[in-house]
Amino acid sequence: MLAYSCARRGAAIACLGIGIIGGTWSAPALARVELGLPATQAQVTIGCLYPMTGRAAIYGKDSVAGIKLALAELAAEADAPRLRVIVDDDRSKASYAVRMAEDFIAHDKARFLCGMVSSGVAQAVSKVALKNKVVMVGTDHASSRLTIEGLHPYYFRVSNDSYTSMAAGARYLAELQKKTGWKRLAYIGPDYDYGHVSWSDFQSNLEHLGVRYESVGMFWPKLYEPDYSAYIQAMLKAEPDIVVTSLWGGDFVAFLKQARTTDFFTRIRLANFDTGGNYEVMLSLGDKPPPGLILSARHHNNWPDTDTNRRFVETFRQAEGRFPTYAAEGAYSGIMAIARAVTKAGGATDMGAVITALEGLELHLPEDPDGFNSFIDPDTHQIVQTQAVGEVVANTAYPPAKVMLGKWTVYGAEDLRPLPELVRSRRAKAAGAVELIE
């Protein structure tokens, strides 16, 4: 008879369980969608990666809808390139996304990669793009690390990054300080690259603007945290005048829900400059939003009030039966940017020509106010756009949401670009760190 510990065996099985659960998102996805022309007729194949499962699935779904809108627009143009777009589920897992990106390139002969919601996933796939010398166009992740420290010739991004959003936010708060004299600031962001880079971008912008403030707390909940009560109490205790957050999606909604049952909003103003103005958040606020919210997002359904934006939002609504989140406009912009670059370069066979075409490429996008076109900065490969920061106001024009953003403060695109010295300094620091490691 061999005796051994039954309970230890149980613990070992439990650890196996945790391992399997951890690997759940690495299981094969079943969500491949092929859009545009079939392989035999297409001039260019684009492989897109979005989460179709898990918490960020709504962004994947809206991105597919945005891609369809772009393809429909291009199909109506006589001289537009013939595109085939494959979209698959990256399950928000870097290792899985890397494998899929390599499959796109090897088996589907993709010349472009696009998409990605998670900055962590995007950084991993960006390395695949560099290794295989294919162009990657980011549409929905925001860490500025990708366009500053981690930039390579094949990476471009067509949605606002954390630097742009935080530059707008810092300007807003600088102006607010002149009116209200706020001093104490706290930050809460998800504990991964995007959260940390957003805070760093925000601080560098405040410093650049000469805003004097006291940082009274930084909080780093894990992504998809269900319970924010401890953070809310810790922030109330720290007594900041303003809390800046980069929580996004369901996390931001959960934070708002939980904070509104305390006296958080009577004592503190909450600002979310990158994702807080998303339609999903407006929907969750119901008809009694908490006071004092300062929000923005990478695209707004009700700003700018231009024909292009109205048409984009309405076409989306007609196709999908609901209003879009900002992910749709990002994906739409990505496909339009690739199409215009291919046209400008005279095809996609010469990647050098495509890169040259993308650098400085001008696009008129739904989030561009009249008289302004977005353009891609040749130095950072980051799209340069205006940004509007707003407050929550009653608005029933976008049902079922009962509120939308309004009372806009708009910041010009040129003001939101990182200074060349800052870009150089961040790149030099990163290069120094790499040398040190080596």
Binding site: I18, S215, S229, A230
Partner: protein, 316 residues
């Protein structure tokens, strides 16, 4: 003037009674939620020796059922009494747990009870994947928001601190669930029979105990507890795909720390994880995630069977 958080400030905070109460209350609230999530998992393992990987899916099903029904209740009954939404929350969790638990136990698990524990991990993992996709097919990927039951109860001041009454009610709910589990196991005839099954399944069968019925009942109770945890959490979060997978890892951490299959262990595990995490959030937020798994690793290093797990000799 950007001074950040300095170590002396942390030291001051340690001696601050308000912070102490905040840590205590936040830790209790988080521990209650953790216990609600982990209770069903530990009940099923304790009786059936099945490490139910699909437990997170039951949590998700409970959350989706509650969020969709309560959402419908508020949108279609403008004049309705909002307090009925709590009955809907609990009612749909019970219904979802009973139906899903019964179907899975009768349709799948009862054919596999004599199989190896490891095989059951794989079977329930497959179930998790199926239920994840089934949930997505039924409810879609759009998030569901049900804020009314959370905000309806208002808040209470405890000293200088404001707490949502819903969160405090959650503490009460977890005490009720834990107390009921303990009472049934220790003070009822069914509980005695269950303990006999836990102690020695073969002898229990020889004594005329209907083990299959006990297993079916236990699984349905475990499933219902998972669904109840999801339903009670739904008003405070955005219910969207993947929520089940996220909680199951924490639930495993709790039951491993406490000792698999032990209700008392789940209580202590939840309290330990909850209070440690709360302390980290208030005093050293940058290491919050680390401390949860740090505690788990430390406990497993000292007591691999968990705090309340028993080492039992077993023939192989």
């Amino acid at each position: 003037m950007n001074v950040g958080a300095l170590p002396p400030a942390r030291m001051r905070r340690l001696t601050d009674m308000t912070t102490f109460y905040a840590i205590l209350m936040d830790g209790m609230i988080y521990a209650s939620w953790l216990f609600l999530v982990a209770a069903g998992l530990t009940v099923i393992y304790g009786v059936m020796r099945i490490l139910n990987m699909a437990h997170g899916s039951f949590y998700a099903i409970g959350a989706y059922s509650a969020a969709s029904l309560v959402g419908w209740y508020f949108s279609s009954n403008g004049e309705a009494n909002p307090y009925w939404s709590y009955a809907i929350l609990v009612g749909c969790a019970l219904l979802a747990g009973l139906v899903v638990g019964f179907v899975i136990e009768q349709g799948l698990l009862r054919f596999m009870y004599k199989r190896n524990e490891l095989l059951m991990v794989i079977v329930t993992y497959a179930l998790l994947l199926i239920l994840e996709d089934a949930t997505k097919l039924v409810f879609g990927v759009d998030p569901y928001f049900t804020y009314q039951p959370y905000s309806l109860l208002g808040r209470s001041m405890i000293g200088e601190l404001a707490f949502a009454n819903y969160d405090l009610a959650l503490v009460g709910a977890s005490v009720v669930v834990g107390g009921l589990c303990w009472f049934v196991l220790n003070r009822t005839h069914t509980g005695k029979v269950l303990r006999a099954v836990i102690h020695d399944r073969e002898i229990a069968v020889a004594m005329g105990v209907n083990v299959r019925l006990m297993f079916a009942g236990t699984f349905i109770v475990g499933t219902t507890l998972g669904a109840l945890a999801g339903a009670l959490t739904a008003p405070s979060i955005s219910v969207s795909p993947g929520i089940g997978v996220e909680v199951i890892v924490l639930a495993f951490a709790v039951v491993v720390v406490g000792g698999l299959g032990s209700i008392e262990g789940a209580v202590v595990g939840a309290l330990l994880v909850g209070l440690t995490r709360s302390m980290a959030v208030h005093l050293a937020p940058e290491i919050e995630l680390f401390v949860i798994y740090g505690v788990m690793s430390l406990v497993l290093a000292v007591r691999p069977q968990g705090l309340f797990g028993r080492t039992v000799a077993r023939k192989i």
